[in-house]
């Protein structure tokens, strides 16, 4: 029997408080390489905070987080966090593109300025990534000239240009008009099919059911239940999860 491969992301009893408000009360989670994990739950349950802890945007109070070879809670300075951010990219609800830079510049900036990659290589990577999301012709546009769906696709490309091992998606369709949700979900679906490790916080239950290898349900700062999607959505055990699914489905 082959040695089991350790999960690429592993959270163990992670706790986080903002002031006196405890947002995460002991979160444990494992994500295998190449898998897609969705986190669902009512707003304010700490879903987005989990993502921000994984790439070190938010420091944790106790517990441990390992991403590949990085022990995240030991990375105390922004400098120490740079290699982690190379391996973990994040896409935000509000896109957060840099409005004073063109689409192409948005994608090129960090790989060249932070990772010190060769500009020519980055440029050809960026162009092929933009082509993949059907935005090859918009490289010279400014974010303000694009629709929400287009901006979010650029944001995904910007994150991919870091050539990460793990992608974090924080409610990336929540700010979009319904007709634009599809185009963004399509891009994520392609990524998942290519074997990218993805962790999504989402309200799109049907999409989660379709794409996820495992779904975590959080409520009140803890993980109430986690299971493969079929089981979680169709045979929920915990009454809180049942109540939640009744409301959103």
């Amino acid at each position: 029997m082959a040695e089991p491969i350790p999960p690429i992301v592993q959270l163990t009893d992670v706790r986080k408080a903002f002031g006196s408000v405890e947002v995460l009360k002991g979160i444990s989670m494992e994500v295998d390489a190449g898998n897609v994990v969705c986190i669902i739950g009512p707003s304010g349950s700490g879903k987005s905070t989990v993502l921000r802890c994984i790439n070190g945007l938010v420091s944790i109070n106790s517990g441990s987080i390992r991403v590949d070879t990085h022990q995240v809670e030991t990375l105390r300075t922004e400098k120490m966090l740079v290699p982690l951010r190379h391996d973990v990219s994040m896409v935000f609800q509000q896109y957060n593109l840099f409005p004073h830079k063109t689409v192409l510049e948005n994608v090129l900036m960090a790989p060249i300025q932070v990772l010190k990659r060769n500009p020519d290589e980055v440029r050809s990577l960026a162009e092929s990534l933009l082509a993949k999301v059907q935005l090859a012709d918009r490289g010279d546009a400014y974010p303000g000239q694009l629709s929400g769906g287009q901006q979010q696709r650029v944001a995904i490309v910007r994150a991919l240009a870091m050539e990460p091992k793990v992608m974090l998606f924080d409610e990336v369709t929540a700010a979009l008009d319904p007709e634009m949700v599809k185009e963004v979900l399509g891009v994520i679906r392609d990524l998942a099919n290519e074997g990218m490790t993805c962790i999504l916080v989402t309200h799109e239950m049907r999409f989660a059911e379709e794409i996820a290898d495992r779904v975590y349900f959080t409520d009140g700062g803890i993980i109430v239940e986690h299971a493969p999607p079929k089981q979680l959505f169709h045979n929920p055990e915990d009454p809180r999860l049942r109540a939640f699914l009744d409301k959103v489905l």
Binding site: N55, R85, Q94, N96, L97, F98, A110
Partner: protein, 269 residues
């Protein structure tokens, strides 16, 4: 352009008309004499010398002092403003305290203080430097203006949404690089009207340097009144008011126009 420009022109010529009206009301039949006195003294008040081929001070000194102070205050204000947004609470609170102390100091008192704090002679690396009153005036005016500029920078930095910081950090940028490459390029256009307003305020403040003994326009005005007689004091001060107005009004008007433009762009974008 049309409406704003019309309003600006009405304001500009309206004020000049009011000043002219006061002038005529004050001097009546002697108005011509007063005009002649002003004409003879115009070069002295403007550039501090009796003929226009040499420069000794006057209104030009106010302009020079204001520009020098602005440079000093901008450089110091950027650092101080950055410090007021620092993540380290010690640095941040100290900076906020310093800003408030500097902001709440009367300009006149600071100018007096600089007059006495800064020695007349300064020896740097064995070389003796004579510290001119104008240099003291620049230092004195820079103190409150640095505080204002740091506020302008702080407000500018804070006008950029938090998401920009967050996504830049997620891409691996560090604080200094985020400020330089992502935040400031977005904040600077927002800050331009406030910078212009601060400069106009600083320029108005240059009237106070009269206490430092420079050859600024008010000092020259006092000399002129002393030699030509108190009768012409009203005329001379009206002229000085006019000079300040002609210099400051376009700056203030332009800054307001730019601010409205930015606000409109912000609403549509």
């Amino acid at each position: 352009m049309s409406r704003e420009l019309t309003h600006a022109l009405i304001g500009f010529f309206g004020v000049i008309a009011v000043l002219g009206g006061v002038f005529l009301a004050a001097y009546g039949g002697d108005s011509l004499d007063a005009v002649i006195v002003l004409t003879n003294r115009a070069s002295l008040l403007l550039i501090g010398s009796n003929s226009f081929d040499s420069v000794g001070g006057g209104f030009l000194a106010n302009i020079g002092i204001s520009l020098a102070s602005m440079v000093v205050a901008t450089v110091l204000g950027v650092s101080l403003g950055g410090a007021t947004t620092a993540p380290n609470p010690m640095v941040r609170n100290t900076a906020i305290l310093v800003v408030n102390l500097m902001r709440n100091s009367p300009w006149l008192v600071v100018l007096y203080a600089m007059l006495y704090l800064i020695p007349f002679r300064l020896s740097i690396f064995g070389t003796e430097y004579w510290v001119s009153p104008a240099a003291k005036a620049v230092v004195g005016l820079s103190v409150p203006v640095t505080a204002y500029m740091s506020e302008v920078f702080r407000a500018g930095i804070q006008s950029v949404p938090d998401g920009q910081w967050e996504s830049a950090r997620a891409l691996g940028y560090r604080r200094g690089a985020i400020l330089r490459r992502i935040i400031l390029p977005q904040a600077l256009p927002q800050m331009i009207p406030n910078i212009m307003t601060t400069y106009a305020m600083l320029f108005i403040g240059t009237s106070l340097v009269v206490v430092t003994g420079t050859k600024d326009v008010l000092s020259v005005a006092k000399t002129v009144i002393a030699s030509d007689g108190d009768d012409y004091a009203t005329a001379v001060y009206l002229f000085v008011l006019l000079l300040f107005f002609i210099y400051c009004y376009p700056i203030a008007t332009a800054s307001r126009a730019i601010e409205q433009k930015i606000r409109k762009a912000g609403l549509h974008g």
